[in-house]
């Protein structure tokens, strides 16, 4: 997680205004506050996580992302970030549009379903269960899994311009091979994008 935070922090300008969707325990926002001097809010639905955010001194708004971002005005953030959450939302396409309505740029990370381990398990006739996706099909929160190619196809059809991409393994390391063949070798994908 820390490597993912460092990577995201590298993409973010100092002093910007940030909205973190599904902010978990607030660690990313706390990191961005200290490393980049950002201001902003986390959105989280889980009460335990909200208490952890308050502990971390991070602004957190309890809200259900599936209800959209109607509490936020157009273009009110420099970045809208969503780490490891897109695949658990009910309407990922709508949410991406919402992210770029309220933010000038968006940053998304998600587990890549195109990774070779997932593909192998599907070939055996079973839904994948990996270290990064530890739940089975019936109890997973990840109801909208996608691959690197799926995500980029959606961006193309939504008219979104991908500014940066990073491919990582589950230990958040990257290699030249992973960058070359992200859909096969990346376990986690990071994107920074904006409206075209």
């Amino acid at each position: 997680m820390r490597e993912e935070q460092t990577l995201i922090a590298r993409w973010i300008r100092n002093g910007s205004r940030v909205l973190d969707l599904g902010c978990g325990n607030g660690a990313l926002l706390a990191h961005l506050k200290s490393a980049r001097g950002v201001s902003g809010y986390g959105i989280e639905i889980d009460s335990e996580n909200i208490v952890r955010c308050l502990e971390a001194g991070v602004n957190v708004i309890q809200s259900d992302l599936d209800r959209g971002l109607s509490d936020f005005d157009d273009d009110s953030f420099d970045y809208v970030i969503m780490t490891q959450t897109l695949q658990a939302t009910r309407y990922p396409d709508r949410l991406l549009r919402e992210m770029l309505r309220v933010g000038r740029e968006a940053i998304v990370t998600f587990p890549n379903f195109g990774h070779w381990k997932c593909r192998l398990q599907v070939l055996t006739g079973r839904m994948p269960v990996t270290r990064h996706l530890p739940n089975t099909w019936y109890n997973t929160a990840n109801i909208h899994m996608c691959t690197v190619r799926d995500f980029e196809a959606l961006c193309a059809s939504e008219g979104l311009e991908i500014l940066e991409r990073e491919a990582l393994d589950s230990a958040h390391r990257t290699t030249a091979a992973m960058r070359l063949l992200p859909n096969l070798l990346a376990e986690i994908a990071l994107y920074r994008f904006r409206r075209r």
């Binding site: 205004r17 009460s47 208490v51 308050l54 708004i61 309890q62 509490d71 009110s76």
Partner: protein
């Protein structure tokens, strides 16, 4: 703790009193030349004077928020579950100040006090007071206690409105505003409930235009009705059903208008005990203060966002899922305005079946949130 009180109670407390002689101009245009506030304090003000927390009470509350007034008492203050050594608002760390609002009936100057102009109780002549007026008097109390800036101003319902108004009116005197089960202004339905309550009181044959004290009576029937109505709106349908259901007191229908269902007994009891401790004129004033509350009133375009743009406090806004008198949607309006104004705010909606009353109860997650929030609030150190 001595006197057999729980070890995490503030124990025995004695109310204090301050007189203020600087004339107070009220929103209504009236002026009070002299008034007194009664209040309680718990814990110690530290040397840096940065650990003071103001508690604002709601419609029927008073200064007795925590601890006990008599040895052996079983009846602690109204927010005792929150305040004490080791409780979420920890009095080993914070200095807590809890006043009775101007216009109240628990000791601060109000309709029961003597009007110096007539040497009679003010009664219905006591001027209308607003949330802004209260905040002004609380600021003068802070001055008198040597408190330049509150670590936090905290309140539920009408108390939460005061916390919000504090952040608007005295931005440099509040570091944190905790706005619980409140609203940025009352809805039409909410004003309607207040009007029914007021009408019940004012149409009581014993009301006598508010001069009932001159006749040695109280409009008990009207005040009781007002309180019964209030109680229905403070609880959720579900909690009424689970607590009272359709239980019959005698186990059978009596085909009469005496108490049959347990809920009738409960409401009558609540109404009757309220009449013994509360003044009808104060009730009228407090409901009007609720109706008038509108912190955006003086902002450009009557815009709450603009009213809050100057606030510098960090906000914690809390609502309760089953609260329909001050619904979560009303809290979200406050949050939305704070977000638009780029203020620091956190918002939590607590799952609770207990309706509006939840803010007074020890709902576990609610108290954890408050405990965590107070714990991470930086103060200079241990009490001096």
């Amino acid at each position: 703790m001595s006197n057999g009180f729980p070890h995490d109670s503030v124990g025995l407390v004695t109310p204090q009193r301050r007189a203020f002689t600087e004339p107070l101009e009220l929103d209504s245009g009236a002026t009070l030349d002299h008034y007194e506030l009664v209040f309680e304090t718990y814990g110690e003000l530290n040397a840096a004077r940065d650990n003071a927390v103001l508690i604002c009470h709601a419609l029927s509350g008073d200064h007795h928020a925590a601890g006990y007034h008599e040895p052996g008492s079983q009846r602690p203050g109204w927010w005792d579950n929150l305040i004490g050594p080791g409780r979420p608002l920890d009095t080993r760390r914070f200095f807590v100040v809890s006043p009775n609002n101007l216009g109240g009936c628990a000791g601060s100057t109000g309709p029961l006090s003597i009007n110096p102009a007539t040497a009679q109780p003010y009664g219905p002549d006591f001027p209308f007071v607003t949330v802004r007026d209260w905040v002004k008097t609380q600021a003068r109390l802070a001055d008198a206690l040597g408190i330049g800036c509150w670590a936090a101003v905290v309140g539920g319902s009408l108390g939460g409105m005061q916390a919000l108004q504090w952040a608007v009116d005295f931005p440099d005197r509040v570091r944190h505003a905790l706005v619980i089960a409140a609203a940025a202004k009352l809805t039409t339905q909410n004003i309607a409930f207040n009007e029914v309550a007021r009408h019940a009181i004012r149409s009581d044959a014993n009301f006598h235009g508010g001069r009932y004290f001159e006749k040695g009576v109280v409009p008990a029937h009207g005040l009781m009705l007002a309180r019964m109505l209030g109680h229905i709106t403070y609880l959720s349908d579900d909690v009424l059903m689970s607590r009272f259901g359709r239980e019959l007191r005698d186990g059978k229908l009596n085909f009469g208008f005496d108490v049959e269902f347990e809920i009738e007994s409960y409401l009558r009891h609540q109404g009757e005990s309220f009449v013994k401790r509360f003044d009808a004129n104060t009730y009228l004033l407090m409901t009007k203060s609720l109706d008038y509350f509108d912190p955006a009133a003086n902002a450009p375009d009557h815009d709450l966002r603009k009213a809050l743009a100057g606030a510098s406090a960090r906000f914690l806004v809390i609502s309760f899922s089953s609260d329909w008198r001050f619904a979560p949607a009303r809290s979200r309006e406050i949050v939305r305005a704070l977000l638009d104004a780029d203020r620091d705010v956190s918002y939590v909606e607590i799952e609770s079946e207990q309706g509006h009353d939840s803010f007074l109860l020890e709902v576990p997650l609610y108290h954890r949130v408050l405990r965590t929030y107070f714990q991470q609030m930086p103060i200079a150190g241990a009490p001096a």
